[in-house]
Amino acid sequence: MLNFSVFVGQRMASKVVYSPRDPMLKKRDDFEDVLEERRRSSDLRYALRCYTPVLYKGLTPCKASELKTMVLGSDQLHYVVNQVSRESGVSVDEVQAEASVILEEMAQRLQLSTIRFFAFTLSKVFKAMFRSICVNEEGLQRLQQVIQEHPVVLLPSHRSYMDFLLMSYILYTYDLPLPVIAAGMDFMGMKVVGEMLRMSGAFFIRRSFGGDKLYWAVFSEYVKTMLRNGFAPLEFFLEGTRSRTAKSLTPKLGLLNIAMDPFLKGEVFDVSLVPVSISYERVLEETLYARELLGVPKPKESTSGLFKARRVLSEDYGSIHVYFGPPVSVRSLAEGRVNRSQFSLVPRHIPMRPSEDVHGFVNDAAYRLVRAQEDNMVLKPWVLLASLLLQNQAAGKNQGVPLGELIQQAVWLRDLCRQFGAFLHWPDHVPPSEVVSSSLSLHSGLVRVSEDRVFLALEQGPPCSLTAEEELLSQAVVVLSCASYRNQVLHVFLRPALLASAIHTASSSQKQDVYNNFLFLRNMFSNEFILCPGAAVQDFEEACYLLTKSGALHVNQHEVLATERGHRTLAFLTGVLDPFLQGYQLVCRFLCEDATEALTERRFVPAVREFIIKHLLKGRLRYPEVLSSDLQRNALAALLRLGAVQKVQGGEEPGALKVNRVMVNSLEDTLGGRLSTQKALRAHL
């Protein structure tokens, strides 16, 4: 249990660790619109232009096919092939042949001609769909430099299928080497598209290959060979999959581990990791995601793919901002953290499980990188409007908000955001009313404006033809879509919001009480949000600093006090976190009241969804967004992590869940502020 004395002890240190940024002083780079040039000159000439990217200075020039030979001939692979052959009794040649098949299935076949084809068609498509694609040029200059120095790993955020096409498109445009991209096998379902992607640099990985030693060996050696030789920048998604909620996902470590390995084993001097933040003003998959999260089948019109595609092309998706973050050197990350000589006692071609310290190091690095992605994510005014509209909606204002009031609220929130250091792209030379109305019109599928009042577009279709449940779900689609925009700004408010909620439920204004509450909430939500492991003190300090700076709090040695004018801020912040608090409580209540012996991991989501729908229909819950299966799964993961729910090993059904009702109950009470965290912490953590 972390207690206050630990916290006090670390305060001095954390002061140094957390250096507050001043958004006004922080120079954000200038963006350049990639499409501007496309609208002015020939796409064909662009696609066929001379392309001479800068290259890595240590490059061993080789073709994509030669890479395969290198991988199949590597000591690493030979070792595992022999091992597998010994264990399975299959002859070495057969295992080697199997490895070759795996590699064939996986490998990319990067071809310039395909890239040119994409350059041409994507230009057409992008121009039709987007107003602009803005890229920070300074980031690209940094990238250009670092590409020559060290092998580079590009780590874009993942919100849309578009992400990696967009990345390659931008790199082609700026004459930078095209990346090889780790993609999920699901693309391979589409035969032609899959092959096209392969020829534009994608290589395909099975979604799960847990125990398959041979697969892992082929895969990791393939990736490492490309890195070591500097074949091309490696690109993969730290989050592993597209985030359906627009919140960053807990990073997956597998590929990052592989990407760091050549440095840790001394095969390259350094590896540069470049976090890239891609933000869409309007996400292509917006309602698809919401439906997926709700478990609702896709709407009928989408069955006609052609029709859909045409509809997509004719719509306005606003602009895209792509921010290439400063490169992070693995060497400097590892400095003082990893003892690299541990790799010198076993031949390097023998696969080893990462040691405890390496694992911890990679995990911390992954979190840092995802935080960097979050920090550099450009936020559009719409995300503020979505936050405000959702809060108004929950407050029961079904009649909508007067436009004037919304504008006033948005300006207030804009200023708060800026004080918190958010990377907000709010055009200052345009009057706020125009900014707001242009945002609203872009998202006309989600909001309606009538008689100068702004509503969420909850009523769809003729009202009588639907059951109450169906109506609720269709409303939830809109709410969840809105929530996915609000979620984009969550990382800005997260820490202050945790603090605001902690103050809200704390029994006193004693710093220690507040901190304990903060710690409890942070711990509870660490599957939901990106909270770096072991950084509780820094996070608390950051939250205190930001809220003090914005004048909402007064923090001294022993006490945390809300100021008079801080109530609005604090109310907003607690409002941000409230759907999650309520959602987690409801999941707890479900587990206490409704969970049967037969509950399994697989049946959990449908069961809890049914339970929540009941509550929503009865009007006991104000937040339809609690229906998000993402939230429900995260809540379960948190409870599993805290030991309040356990997976039964070796039961008749796989993944059976055993609920510790007393513990779940008290966690629910603590979340609701009905039980002091002191007690709860003592009891459970």
Partner: protein, 681 residues
Amino acid sequence: MASSSCGGGSDRQMAAQHRLSIIAGHLQRPSGSNTAILAAECKAQASKPFVSSERRTVPRRRQEIMKWNGWGYSDSKFVYNKKGQAEFTGRRYKLSGMIIPGLKDWMENTFGATLQHKTTATPALNSSAVPPPTLNEAFMEELKSTGIPFSADAEDRVFRAHGHCLHEIFALREGKIGRVPDMVVWPNCHNDVVKIVELACKHNVCLIPYGGGTSVSSALECPPEESRSIVSLDTSQMNRILWIDEKNLTAHVEAGIIGQDLENLLNESGYCTGHEPDSMEFSSLGGWVATRASGMKKNIYGNIEDLVIHIKMVTPQGVIEKSCQGPRMSTGPDIHHFIMGSEGTLGVITEVTMKIRPVPEYQKYGSVVFPNFEQGVACLREVARQRCAPASIRLMDNEQFKFGHALKPQVSSIFTSFLDGLKKFYITKFKGFDPNRLCVATLLFEGDREKVLQHEKQVYDIAAKFGGLAAGEDNGQRGYMLTFVIAYLRDLGMDYYVIGESFETSVPWDRVLDICRNVKARIVYECKDKGVQFPPLSTCRVTQTYDAGACVYFYFAFNYRGLGDPVHVYEQVEHAAREEILANGGSLSHHHGALRLSALLSGTDAVANVWPGSWRLSGHRTALRTSKHTRGSNGGLHSCAQGDGAKSSAAPEEKNQRVAAYPKSEDGPLQPAPPLGTHRA
């Protein structure tokens, strides 16, 4: 009597003595030797040294022939003449008196150093800057009665207060003199050393053994906090070959002899040891043993641990030596293995029996050009795999190749320069080698003429498989010359704001390329990081091959103009480079030694802070503890640096207690050590 003083006292040795005296009859007797040393009765003298010591290189007053603040002989150094051309002065070397036209451009292009920016070293030692000696009167009195010569002269003391680390030389050039020994003694034989050590123990005086003074591990630095009298024990006058045993091909030699004297004297009888560390002009036999030295031609002759048959060492607890000269023993642990690499923390090495070989009939240099370093390393690996390495095989990287090229003396004939141009054209244009990537392996073959030629063909055939082209004897020879003059070059560099040093490591074969690339890159990176204004020289060569790995030697130098504390920057960068070596699976040192560590830490236990968590230090801790122990309870040895440039990281395990328990006999001569196998314990 004579034989007992030699320690063995066996019949066999008596016989050897007899045989030797007959041989010695053909040779000139030591002719009175010089100065008053002989006034002291020395028992070793009575055993009629086999070879005369009259032509020894190093006099008691080193200042007569050596620089006080730089490398080597006073008369030999690089200078820029009036025309701005580099020139090597003196008459001692092949290069002496020659113009080196390429050096100036190389220095300008590599370091950004220009002739306009010159530093001036303090021209002469100012005796008044030397702190007055702390003398232990009682010790002095008793020492006087033994007749062993000593001196408290400021120059003598300053000369023995340093090795050749960069910071030591840099400080001297600036005229900065820190704690220096309070006195210098010149024992003339083993028994003198026994007496000195005894007296030091009795009077609580600190001893720092001094051999060739070429240490690069700070082993000669006096701890500034030391309040006791520090006495430098200079072994340079113990420089005789006591006997040569032609039946067993061994020679028994006093440990103070320096490499070139040992080789020259043996050559007169048709023998050699074949041990040729780069510092062999000045480093001593005792230093080689104390630091586990490695010689250039180890592929034929072995490293020092393979060459040594028998060692006599004086410790505060008594004399330690094996009781026989058998070529191998199964009674372990081998006491030699804690003496070798003890870097002087355990005692003074006084006499050594070494293997000798007949002087080879034929010697041939050679060189091979490779299109790139990777190919070169692959070739060396193959040579090692086939175990057909010549006496020496070294692979220089591109930077070092250019460095070597810059040292080419002025060509006298147009024909030679025409040939050179033709060669260059052939390699770069015809064969398509990139002049900025190619690298050169230098070779030295030794043995029967016929076998050498056969061997040569074998090696060139392997090289050809890796794209190597034979590039002639000259290039090879010049490559080896580089290692001898490099220390002189450093002095020239220091005249023009360039400082540098070398360090080395041993590493498994599969990591050779990685360690070379990463360490060189780390140096460049750190220099930039530490504010060095010019790109540094960061170069390496694979300098020895073994079955399981290779020795890699790094040179690192930079122009320090614009830096406030260049030596500190240098040390930070070097520290980072060593850290990189360890992180890449290299050893702390292949042959330079690591006492710098111990010296830095004398009195503290913070070893792990210097080499953070990355080195298995148990061995060195033991050595440290022992040196502290001996200092504390006996006031004897501080550290022994019969230093030369050849040291290693291997360190003794927990064996020293046993040795410390050796009984000391009542009367003068110390009892020979029993062989460990028959030891009562």
